[in-house]
């Protein structure tokens, strides 16, 4: 059934709001299920390196992936599992990358969230925050050069990443080039341990939109309906040739920065704020209130998500890791231009 949902998201005809809401909800559910499993694998010492989850940001992220069509460019970031899945990233890409399978898209060469399939328009983030904005702009320029029609790009960022020089250059160049770009910035009120007041001093981050020639919108990221409406609207406007769109969604990061981090610096007062609500619970409440699905259906969806996640983990766990002495140690695709330097053999 998730497969059906995936196909729906690629069609152009907008789904009725309730269907779209439920579709997004299921990507959120899948993501929460997957990331809880990844966390337990991490705690069990079964994952090398970090685990970075998007708990509390699934609604924003799912809405990002859901409105993109085939041919659109998606540049997800740290907390965008829901968006990645909704855009079509196979679960196996996630588990293979986290578990270091040789068969994943990154083949053990890169890990965790640093993954993608650029050949399928899923850009592979580098760590350096802000860097992927201009890359998305370039991909969109290329599509325009090639005469493609009806495409947009959507790039995600955190409020911390918004403070980099690269982000500034990226916003500016997007507006100069007038590419059909949506930037979804999620202000989860922390960049690692640093709260907003040490990150920026402007009244509202969305005010920056006008300064760059973007159109800007605020969003309560805990409310899935709002996410679908605002992000869907921005995507529509970008597709219609409006200037680039900036959305600033407000949430609280409901996890540590990574799973190594207990986030003890998050204050009790912060946790009482309206933006600290758990978007998944809010969405469930909406489903119950509006009777969009009954309890049995929800239970079946949960079960299905768990089964898919278990399967993806089990498969990746059975697969061979990369091996140093069998690795193709070559960073160039042009073999005859590889430097002859003798390295460690």
């Amino acid at each position: 059934m998730l497969q059906t949902a995936q196909r729906q998201s690629k069609t152009k005809k907008p789904a009725p709001p309730h269907e779209r809401f439920l579709e997004a909800f299921r990507w959120m559910l899948l993501t929460r299920t997957l990331e809880e499993k990844l966390v337990s694998l991490y705690r069990g010492g079964l994952i090398t390196g970090g685990v970075y989850i998007g708990k509390g940001q699934e609604a924003v992220s799912a809405a990002c992936g859901l409105f993109l069509q085939k041919g659109d460019i998606f540049a997800p970031l740290i907390r965008d599992q829901a968006g990645r899945s909704a855009f079509g990233e196979p679960l196996l890409d996630v588990t293979r990358t986290y578990l270091g399978s040789r068969q994943g898209p990154m083949r053990g060469r890169d890990g965790n969230i640093h993954r993608g399939r650029p050949q399928d328009n899923q850009l592979a983030m580098v760590s350096h925050l802000g860097a992927m904005i201009s890359v998305t702009v370039g991909a969109l320029m290329a599509k325009r050069f090639k005469g493609e029609k009806d495409f947009i790009g959507l790039a995600c960022i955190g409020e911390g990443g918004m403070q980099t020089g690269a982000f500034h250059e990226g916003m500016n160049i997007a507006a100069v080039e007038q590419v059909p770009l949506v930037i979804v910035a999620t202000n989860n009120h922390y960049a690692y341990s640093t709260p907003n007041d040490r990150e920026f001093a402007c009244h509202d981050l969305v005010d920056r939109a006008i300064g760059y020639g973007f159109e800007g919108y605020n969003l309560d990221g805990t409310d899935l309906s709002g996410c679908l409406e605002v992000i869907g609207g921005a995507v529509k406007r970008a597709r219609a040739g409006r200037p680039p769109q900036l959305i600033v969604a407000s949430v609280l990061r409901l996890s540590g920065h990574g799973e190594h981090d207990d986030a003890s610096y998050v204050t009790e007062e912060m946790k009482r704020q309206p933006f600290a609500r758990d978007c998944l619970k809010v969405a469930e409440q909406t489903i119950a209130d509006l009777k969009l699905a009954d309890a049995d259906t929800l239970a079946a969806w949960r079960k299905e998500a768990a089964a898919k996640v278990d399967e993806a983990i089990a498969t990746a766990q059975k697969e061979a890791p990369p091996e140093g002495d069998k690795e193709d140690w070559c960073a160039l695709s042009t073999r005859d231009l590889v430097d002859q330097l003798e390295t460690i053999d």
């Binding site: 992927m132 702009v137 969109l140 290329a142 050069f145 690269a166 990226g170 160049i173 695709s333 042009t334």
Partner: protein
């Protein structure tokens, strides 16, 4: 007819734009009637509408944009106004372009043109040679053409290569170097060139320093020494074999580079010859670079900062006496 090094770069870009729809040029002031700070794209915007685009002063975003376009099938050429400003784009070049094929299996065919090296009065921020920094990082090809012919053919090859290429063009050579005509043949990248044959000493060099080395060879010929000059052409890949073969003939090695002394291309050449050709050497290998200070503005200071024919000749004589 004669053609300068700079004109060769312009002609190569004209040919690329003409022959390959995927090519576009992106950089500060490259478009319009202006044609770039050094006129390397003069007239191209008019001849190829919409494909020679002025970019904002955003080196990081210029290269990021090129990477995205390359992933989507284009062949962008980014012109840095000066090599020195590519420091702003280091992140995109090293961490994004340089890692992309390795990480994702998707190559990034971008060409970044760096107007490099010192000219009189240019000072600390318009004179740098950055090839060693780019060569240090995996996933990049670094070209340092020293002749009009190489300026032309290597730029065409750079764009054809599926991997990111940092193309270091020397500003001093722009107007000083002339050839009768554009070449019809090329030497493949990764192959060094024997710029002058000799049997007493090998001077390994690249870019503008090749011409200082050739001047030294001429000078020392009148003193009875035969100097072999090797032009590396590309510093990555580095043609160790040609260097070793030359050292096998001469037994003596001097490496000359215009960039700063710590590490870098000259140190790399010596390390390789030391490791693989120690038995070929009759004297300890030597190197000459610029001084370990920022590049000075005043011509008197500038000409003392970088290696020139006099300094190279002095060093060569000392090495020949060993």
């Amino acid at each position: 007819m004669s053609i300068t090094y700079l004109e060769a770069i312009r002609e190569a870009q004209a040919k690329l734009l003409r022959d390959d729809k995927r090519v576009f040029i992106y950089g500060q002031d490259v478009g319009g009637a202006f044609g770039g700070a050094f006129k390397a794209t003069k007239g191209l915007a008019k001849e190829f509408p919409g494909r020679v685009l002025n970019a904002p002063i955003s080196e990081d975003a210029m290269v990021g944009t090129a990477i995205g376009a390359a992933i989507e099938g284009m062949r962008p050429i980014v012109e840095m106004q000066f090599a020195d400003f590519s420091s702003i784009a280091l992140n995109q070049i090293l961490n994004n372009a340089g890692t992309h094929y390795w990480r994702t299996n998707v190559p990034v065919p971008i060409t970044i043109r760096l107007p490099s090296g010192g000219t009189k009065g240019s000072g600390p921020f318009h004179s740098q040679s950055m090839e060693s920094i780019y060569a240090h990082y995996p996933g990049l090809i670094v070209m340092t053409p020293a002749t009009v012919e190489d300026a032309y053919t290597m730029l065409i090859e750079a764009v054809a290569i599926d991997d990111p290429v940092v193309y270091c063009e020397h500003k001093y050579l722009y107007y000083h170097l002339k050839a009768d005509q554009l070449p019809t043949e090329s030497v493949p990248t990764g192959t060094a060139r024997i710029a002058r044959e000799g049997r007493d000493l090998t001077i390994v060099s690249y870019s503008a320093m090749v011409h200082e080395a050739l001047a030294v060879a001429e000078q020392l010929a009148s003193e009875g020494f035969e100097i072999e000059v090797v032009d590396l052409r590309s510093v990555k890949p580095l043609d160790t074999n040609t260097v070793l073969a030359s050292v096998a003939r001469t037994g003596r090695l001097l490496c000359v580079g215009e960039s700063f002394p710590w590490g870098g291309v000259t140190a790399e050449v010596i390390a390789r010859v030391g490791a693989e050709g120690f038995h070929l050497l009759d004297a300890a290998p030597q190197r000459l670079n610029a001084k370990d200070t920022p590049i000075p503005y005043h011509p008197n200071l500038w000409s003392a900062h970088r290696p020139n024919a006099n300094v190279i000749a002095r060093k060569a004589r000392a090495l020949l006496r060993e």
